[in-house]
């Protein structure tokens, strides 16, 4: 899938956010949004960042195809979340959908900005910063991102051990035996986690309504 297993493991080790699936006793996203307008702004924004930054970054990479622009996207999106928290209305939809719209809007702006940087070179070809299909316009690229967002959210709510087996098997291309050797987890446990992770993932995707349009 193009992602080195070492990178996947490194990301997991470096990213405490990845271990932070939301516990039942933690405030909901919507509660945190109300805290962005008070003294607890940094704690609230920090928690939202931990929950969603990987998704914003990952979807940004898919849309923009460029790591530095995806980083810029993350930064702009979370500042916009803070600055625009007063406009978030939970009765119109959940935080995740709202955040997706913010992300899409900012990503489109960045995409267009990058497009303006596309310039001809001597051989008549177009030079583009990122390796994307140049035939795909911004709207086409962004349209794909809603599915990407929801799958990312489904993966993010898996607990860390289950997410790990999916990452290593699907993205890393490792067999269960190799996962066991790499992580030190007994083979039987890896097998149980694989089955359980797929069960949870399937359930989560169904909850997000992904099944009808994407699981065909």
């Amino acid at each position: 899938m193009g992602f080195a297993t070492r990178d996947i493991l490194n990301h997991r080790q470096r990213s405490p956010a990845h271990e932070m699936t939301q516990r039942a006793d933690e405030p909901s996203d919507e509660q945190l949004m109300t805290n962005l307008d008070g003294p607890g702004v940094e704690v609230a924004l920090s928690k939202l960042y931990d929950r969603y930054s990987r998704t914003v970054f990952g979807v940004g990479l898919r849309i923009l195809g460029d790591r530095s622009m995806a980083e810029e996207l993350v930064q702009e999106v979370f500042l916009k979340v803070w600055r625009s928290s007063g406009t978030f209305d939970p009765s119109r939809g959940g935080f995740s959908s709202w955040l997706y719209r913010v992300t899409r809007s900012v990503a489109l702006d960045l995409y267009r900005k990058r497009a303006r940087r596309v310039r001809p070179v001597s051989d008549g070809q177009l030079h583009i910063a990122a390796e994307r299909d140049p035939s795909a316009g911004p709207q086409e690229v962004v349209d794909e991102s809603w599915l990407s967002w929801r799958v990312s959210r489904a993966l993010e709510v898996l607990d860390a051990p289950h997410r790990e087996v999916i990452d290593l098997a699907y993205f890393g291309g490792l067999s269960q035996r190799e996962i066991s050797e790499r992580t030190g987890v007994p083979l039987g446990t890896v097998k149980t986690r694989t089955a359980s992770a797929y069960k949870s993932l399937r359930k989560e995707l169904a909850v997000q309504g992904t099944s009808r349009e994407a699981l065909r």
Partner: protein
Amino acid sequence: MKFAEVHPNLAAFVLGCLEAEEAAEVRHHLDSCPGCQSELEELRKVNRALGAAPPPAAPPAYLKGEILSCVRAEQLPSSNKVVAADGSSPLEEHGRSHRTYRFNRFKEFRIVLPSVAAAALVAVIALGVFFGFLREETPVATIQLIPTPQEAAGLDGYWGVAEIRPQPAGNQQVELKLNNFEEPKPNGYYEMWFVSGEKRISAGSFTSVGKGETRVLLNAPPEASDYHTLLITEEHVDKRPASSREVALKGDLP
């Protein structure tokens, strides 16, 4: 059929992470188990959805700190959060830029630079009037700025010169004229240096308009008159203010 009743290796089979013998065993089981065949189709849908997943990557660790620093900085004078009275979409309100702190620093700089340059120009003209130097000074040197091979690959219709005019106080005024010189990267800017061996003196920073002509006035202290190479490097606002080695243009004084 309940999940617990299906073959325990079915998910791993779909994921393709079974050993060859195990996969063969699952295939054999599927031949005679309609329940698992049905379950297999459902699991394959999950697998297809995973194809839309973004890569398992995380933003750099420092980014969160930068965002929180920006929030802290913006909170200091007064809260400038936008609360739409009409409850309009956050995507449409906010006409102003949402540039981030590190980009803002440069953006502000880009706004300030032309003002500073304009003010400097006004001051020079005023001094010129005072000293009877109203006419434009002829440059003592015009240096052609050559792009590095890496930079040249992306330039079309580029040309660039630096005109140097010593000022009454000894400062070296440099007027840059760059045509079709690409804009710096989003978190970057250009800086001009007078170079002699390993020593460098900065003449100031600037940005470029990209297509078309960019004209910038820069200044270096009198000591720069002994430095006979000009470099224009691309710098990054989020790094320490030191010369980078990303040379974009180079020119040699006669």
